[in-house]
């Protein structure tokens, strides 16, 4: 939040009476300038690059997300460069029909990558589920250097791109990750005002 808003710090009502400020000296106690107590300050985070996965974006980079938002908006506004990866490229009119769903404007986006299933093994709300089997398999692989290299050879360096990677997962596994049913939002009327 501080990084996105170009603030020197952000105040938090947290960390009181814990060992965290001692472990991380960037967490600092500050007096309220209005004389009503003490809060903790944390410094801004400004990533060189933020990569944000979204359900859809226009070619101009206006990105729309529904589901968990986490800190994706803050990360994008705080970063020097922003890459948006989307399940679907849509016409700008689709974005303009539902402006409340836009979390990142194309103004701050440097690249749009259209990559369906690009968030696997994680999920995309409404598109596919978390592939839990992957996480369970990954645990022992990631503990072992040789196993990790072998996995990278097979699943990253050994495929031509995302489409081949997803094809390699197999149709059955991919199908099993589809939502078990639909849960569409009702649409709203923004109204026209001339």
């Amino acid at each position: 939040t501080a990084g996105a808003a170009k603030l020197p710090f952000f105040p938090l009502r947290s960390y009181f009476e814990t060992d965290l400020p001692r472990a991380n000296p960037l967490i600092r106690e500050i007096e309220s300038p209005y004389g009503d107590g003490v809060v903790y300050a944390v410094p801004p985070l400004n990533p060189d690059v933020a990569i944000v996965h979204a359900q859809r974006a226009s070619a101009g980079g206006d990105a729309q997300v529904w589901g968990l938002l986490g800190c994706q908006k803050e990360a994008a506004f705080a970063a020097d460069r922003v890459i948006v990866v989307v399940e679907e490229l849509v016409d700008e009119a689709v974005v303009r029909a539902d402006p409340n769903r836009t979390i990142i404007p194309g103004l701050i986006v440097d690249a749009v990558v259209v990559e369906p299933w690009g968030a696997h093994p994680s999920y995309v709300q409404g598109a596919y589920d978390r592939d839990n089997r992957f996480y369970l398999d990954w645990d022992p692989i990631s503990r072992d250097e040789a196993a990790t290299q072998a996995w990278l050879d097979e699943w990253v360096r050994g495929v031509s791109g995302r489409a081949e990677y997803i094809g390699k997962l197999g149709a059955e596994r991919v199908a099993s990750l589809r939502p078990s049913g639909a849960a569409p939002s009702g649409s709203v009327d923004y109204g026209a005002y001339r």
Binding site: T1, L12, R13, S14, Y15, F16, E17, T18, D19, L20, A23, G37, V38, W66, G67, L68, L69, G70, C71, K73, E74, S122, Y123, Q125, G126, D129, R130, N132, P179, A183
Partner: protein, 258 residues
């Protein structure tokens, strides 16, 4: 041990029952997740579940695999940014219960989820605070669920990630008042052996033993001379319905109940 249910199942059931009458619960990672979802299906159907990735009022149709899972959004009251959730809902004072897990806890309910051993040269590095340190301060009360052992119930925790009753009730109440904390601190700890509340000195006291558990067994798995209520209750065994919900709906793979 009674052959019809496991100690973990008893712990989850007992933790869920503690949520009866509560309105808004901030759900910690791990064991709290299954306990609150059982509570929503039993004693607290109107419980508003708050997940830190940015959901208020979740109605998960299945047990969420983690705190980031699409099932916590579908059917929820609100999907917010993490900032909004922590700033407006938690710091704003809307959370009745923060439900946390822990790796280490001391007699006053101070919690460590950061490291075992020295911070710079740890024996084990744990997941860290996540939202726990602010939940502990800002939720009106804190519930804890964890398995107990001499390694987890210790005289001195290796790192204080989340504040409990600090050095005792007197100090805790003074600091909370002086610094304007919203939370009153820990109020219940549920383990695989029993249920603890905090007495007037701010110290944990065994109030209920689960079926099969003994005071000797409790003492053997706590690193300090634990207080025991004058008349220790017996936790009612899980009902058939509670067990069915855990085994068939929430955790058919037994991830939490092994």
């Amino acid at each position: 041990m009674n052959g019809t249910f496991s100690k973990s199942e008893m712990m989850i059931v007992a933790a869920a029952r503690e949520l009866a009458g509560q309105r808004v619960c901030f759900v910690g990672v791990g064991l709290p997740n299954i306990a609150v979802n059982l509570a929503q299906r039993t004693v607290a159907p109107d419980l508003e579940l708050v997940y830190e990735a940015g959901v208020f009022g979740a109605r998960p149709a299945r047990l969420p695999l983690s705190i980031g899972d699409p099932t916590i959004v579908t059917g929820a009251t609100a999907a917010t940014s993490m900032f909004e959730l922590f700033a407006f809902y938690l710091q704003g004072g809307l959370i009745d219960v923060g439900f946390l897990g822990a790796a280490q806890i001391d007699r006053f309910g101070n919690i460590n989820t950061t490291v075992i051993g020295d911070y710079d040269h740890p024996t084990t590095r744990l997941p860290g605070s996540g939202g726990a340190c602010e939940i502990a301060i800002n939720a009106r009360q804190v519930f804890v669920i964890m398995r107990q052992s001499a390694r987890s119930f210790v005289e001195t925790i290796d790192f204080r990630t989340s504040a409990g009753n600090l050095g005792g009730a007197e100090q805790s109440e003074r600091i909370r008042r002086e610094q304007g904390w919203l939370g009153r601190g820990p109020s219940v700890v549920v383990t695989d052996l029993g249920i603890y509340h905090f007495d007037e000195t701010g110290e944990m006291r065994l109030d209920s033993l689960h079926p099969g558990a003994t005071v000797e067994g409790v003492r053997a798995t706590i690193g300090w001379e634990v207080k025991i209520a004058p008349a220790v209750a017996s936790t009612p065994a899980p009902t058939a319905e509670e067990l069915r919900l855990i085994r068939e709906e929430l955790d058919p793979g037994g991830a939490y109940t092994r």
